[in-house]
């Protein structure tokens, strides 16, 4: 685990200390958080700002396929798209696949800037023995994954076993080795914004490089108030612990309009520092094509149909 500022070092020393800390965090007023998120959504991003935002969003996409029907062919297609999304658009940040397809992705992406992310730890439910989950992680890393997207044990979290959740994240981080760890909170199952804040802090204290909203398998996935609370947590973690950690929003973000709204939120809530693929990601599949279509419209003035972007 990383070294933390002295006032935070002790909070993970026992279950009781951790509970005291997490429950001592300022509460989140749901109505107020929703109002703030809705207020930010009224920003009007046009012309040059929109051009910049679309390319930035493309560079932050974790292009994802997490289906039972995934095949090497499907993953290779996705990798080709990830490296060259179209015209002169920048490559995306990473491709995100199940562990058994990491090898295929690594082969397909060799020599490019695109990372290989893999979900692990008995994704999406996380309902397996710790050793099984760690094995899952080691497999993915051994196959060449540069980023691991783990799920927390929501059952343990909701039962108040915070230290258990923390220790699993710490163990997973160790199993990751050099690979970056994204910690999926599955906020749709945590339900309250107070829980989202506590889970965010828990994951950050445990050493997660990113906190991530959702697996994409549970509804609701990413919502603006949830993103707001997680971005606030990341910002505050810098103040308290002196370390900058990332945020990934996944699930349900399909349109350029939504992506730009979230970038505005990143800009105004967390700060400019996070406008960087190292610190902010969109986990998505359909979003990329909409970004490309809007990009095309801005450069040519004409909106071309879905037949002009590739189906992957």
């Amino acid at each position: 685990m990383t070294t933390l500022a002295s006032d935070l070092r002790d909070v993970t020393s026992s279950d009781a200390a951790l509970r005291r800390f997490l429950h001592g965090l300022p509460g989140v007023d749901q109505v107020g958080a929703e109002a703030r998120a809705a207020g930010l959504a009224t920003r009007s991003i046009k012309t040059t700002a929109k051009v910049w935002a679309i390319d930035t969003a493309i560079s932050m996409v974790d292009l994802t396929t997490l289906e039972g029907a995934d095949t090497p062919g499907k993953v290779r297609t996705l990798c080709a798209k990830a490296m060259r999304p179209g015209e002169d658009a920048p490559p995306v940040a990473a491709v995100c696949v199940y562990p058994d397809l990491v090898e295929t992705a690594v082969d397909a992406l060799r020599g490019s800037s695109v990372g290989v992310a893999s979900v692990a730890t008995a994704f999406p439910s996380g309902r397996a023995a710790l050793e099984t989950k760690l094995h899952d992680v080691r497999d993915a890393v051994a196959a060449g994954a540069t980023e691991i997207d783990m799920v927390i044990d929501r059952g343990a979290f909701l039962a108040g076993k915070y230290l258990q959740v923390l220790e699993e994240i710490v163990a997973t981080k160790q199993a990751c080795g050099e690979a970056h760890l994204k910690v999926i909170l599955e906020t749709g199952e945590l339900v309250t914004l107070d829980n989202v804040r506590r889970a965010s802090w828990l994951a950050l204290l445990a050493g997660g490089d990113f906190i991530k909203t959702s697996t994409g398998k549970v509804t609701p996935a990413s919502t603006p108030p949830v993103a707001l609370v997680m971005l606030e947590a990341a910002r505050e973690f810098v103040d308290r612990a002196g370390e900058v950690r990332g945020v990934k929003l996944a699930g349900g973000i399909r349109t350029t309009k939504d992506a730009i709204k979230y970038l505005v939120m990143v800009n105004e809530v967390a700060g400019e520092t996070w406008l960087d693929p190292h610190l902010f990601r969109f986990g998505a599949s359909a979003l990329l094509n909409d970004l490309l279509q809007q990009r095309h419209k801005l450069t040519t003035g004409a909106y071309d149909g879905s037949d002009y972007v590739t189906v992957d």
């Binding site: 107020g32 958080a33 703030r36 920003r43 046009k46 040059t48 910049w52 560079s59 520092t273 406008l275």
Partner: protein, 487 residues
């Protein structure tokens, strides 16, 4: 992950100006009297855009004769048609006005922003929708007055004289006109001298809604027109005065009406305390503080101009607040991304500056985020003062500008004592996650409105009004009907 950042990350929002043409500004505007737009007998004055000091239009102000004509027309309408009309019929007119405000919402928002200086985002999302909602709400009451709790058959007072301020020109007109009409009264209304345009567009809407002549009369003008309307009430020609504005003018009106039979309601100044306890939802409290004092450039009578923060969290809260103020976008009110627009007039700007300077002179610490203010127009950076004590002028006097005074407290009792230690009592805010504390604070705060974990939240169903020198009478809700009913 060994990748470089994609860009020199800096998200510059491109200008997103609303179109000025939407306002359909006319070169000149006239008073609306007895169902007609006609030249006023007062002077013609130019109303200017406070964001760039350029003239927007010429407005013919009303004179003494216009006031007499308007009062006579209102009396005839009250006695003849409007006071006798069934509530259901009156309600139809009000619904029509409410719909027309919503339909012409964009035009009204732009004209309000041009004339007042407030950001288009506020006039579009707050002022205009609330104005429409107010008419909708009171339209619903028009045929149910017997069930409002003021007796089985409450009667209108007759003619209401109404004088409104420049901070929410259209919304204040709606607050005044809607309950008066719903209860069967007729109206002579004077908008503020610096912001007459939206009320005159409302007059167009009222004319198009086919209200009988004389039911609503709108008389643009300065203090002399307001004085003339109040004088008519003192002499018995007007039955009720409703005034929103400064406490000084409110006192003057009360003196003038002393001994007369005219009814009076006053909504005056404020110096509201926004009280943040150590168990508050801090990020939302920061939003509430910002909304409390920087909304409409702080030109709000119920603004949360005094932040009372529990000493144990003061440093953390101020740090968060300063960071948040750094993200406020100050500038062109017509830009859809502007958060803080222009101060309404040169006079108001001078007053804000004078009080802010007194704060420094008396020893408080002044802070404002770095922000480039436009070179033309009346702008004042969002400002906060720390190290403020109860004795400082900036803690006692209403600044009516984007200036926050931060004070601290140790216990709930001390918070109450400090919050109530003001001649005003319009509003207050309480921030805590503890429900019982909210209720206990609300019981002890001498303020007409107490917001819990929110601030500056308005709704037509909710009564609004003051204690002490913040005035008397309530506007909004069922309570708002009482000011216009004999019972």
């Amino acid at each position: 992950m060994a990748k470089k950042p994609a860009k020199g990350a800096k998200f510059e929002y491109a200008p997103a100006p609303e179109s000025r043409d939407i306002a359909r500004l006319k070169p000149s505007y006239q008073p609306y009297i007895n169902g007609q737009f006609r030249d006023g007998t007062g002077e013609a004055v130019k109303t200017i855009n406070p964001a760039d000091e350029t003239p927007l239009a010429e407005v013919g102000e009303a004179g003494e004769k216009d006031v007499d004509d308007a009062v006579a027309a209102a009396r005839e309408a009250a006695d003849g048609v409007w006071g006798r009309m069934s509530g259901a019929e009156r309600g139809k007119y009000l619904f029509r006005i409410a719909r027309a405000i919503a339909e012409r919402g964009r035009e009204l928002a732009v004209i309000e922003t041009l004339d007042n200086g407030k950001p288009i985002k506020e006039s579009r999302d707050v002022d205009v929708p609330l104005a429409s909602a107010h008419f909708f709400y009171y339209a619903g009451w028009a045929d149910k007055l017997g069930y409002a709790g003021f007796g089985p058959n409450p009667q209108p007072l007759g003619v209401a004289g109404q004088v409104i301020p420049w901070n929410f020109p259209l919304l204040m007109a709606a607050w005044k006109i809607a309950p008066a009409l719903a209860t069967g009264n007729t109206v002579v209304l004077k908008p503020a001298e610096t912001t007459p345009l939206s009320a005159l567009v409302l007059a167009e809407i009222i004319a198009e809604a086919d209200l009988p002549p004389g039911v609503v009369n709108i008389l643009p003008g300065g203090p002399s027109v307001g004085q003339a309307i109040v004088d008519r009430a003192a002499s018995g020609a007007i039955d009720k005065i409703a005034f929103t504005g400064s406490t000084d003018v409110g006192k003057l009106i009360q003196r003038t009406l002393a001994g007369s039979s005219a009814r009076l309601s006053l909504e005056l100044g404020g110096k509201a305390a926004n009280i943040v306890f150590d168990d508050a939802p801090l990020d939302q409290a920061v939003e509430g503080i910002v909304n409390g004092i920087y909304f409409n450039q702080g030109q709000v009578c119920c603004a949360g101009s005094r932040l009372l923060v529990q000493e144990s969290i003061q440093d953390e809260l101020i740090q968060k607040l300063k960071r948040r103020l750094g993200t406020l976008r100050v500038g062109d009110p017509m830009d859809k991304n502007t958060d803080v627009g222009a101060i309404n007039s040169a006079g108001q700007l001078a007053k804000i500056r004078e009080l802010a300077e007194s704060g420094e002179a008396e020893g408080a610490t002044r802070w404002a985020p770095e922000c480039a203010l436009p070179t033309k127009g009346f702008f004042f950076a969002p400002t906060l003062f720390t190290g403020v004590s109860q004795a400082h002028r900036i803690a006692r006097e209403e600044i009516f500008g984007p200036v926050l005074s931060v004070l601290s407290f140790r216990t709930p009792g001390e918070a109450i004592e400090k919050a109530n230690n003001t001649p005003y009592g319009l509003s207050a805010g309480v921030w805590t996650e503890k429900g019982s504390r909210i209720l206990s604070m609300a019981n002890q705060l001498r303020a007409g409105v107490v917001w819990a974990n929110t601030f500056n939240r308005f709704d037509p169903t909710s009564p609004f009004g003051g204690y002490k020198e913040s005035g008397f009478g309530r506007e909004g809700g069922r309570h708002g009907l009482e000011a216009y009913l004999a019972h």
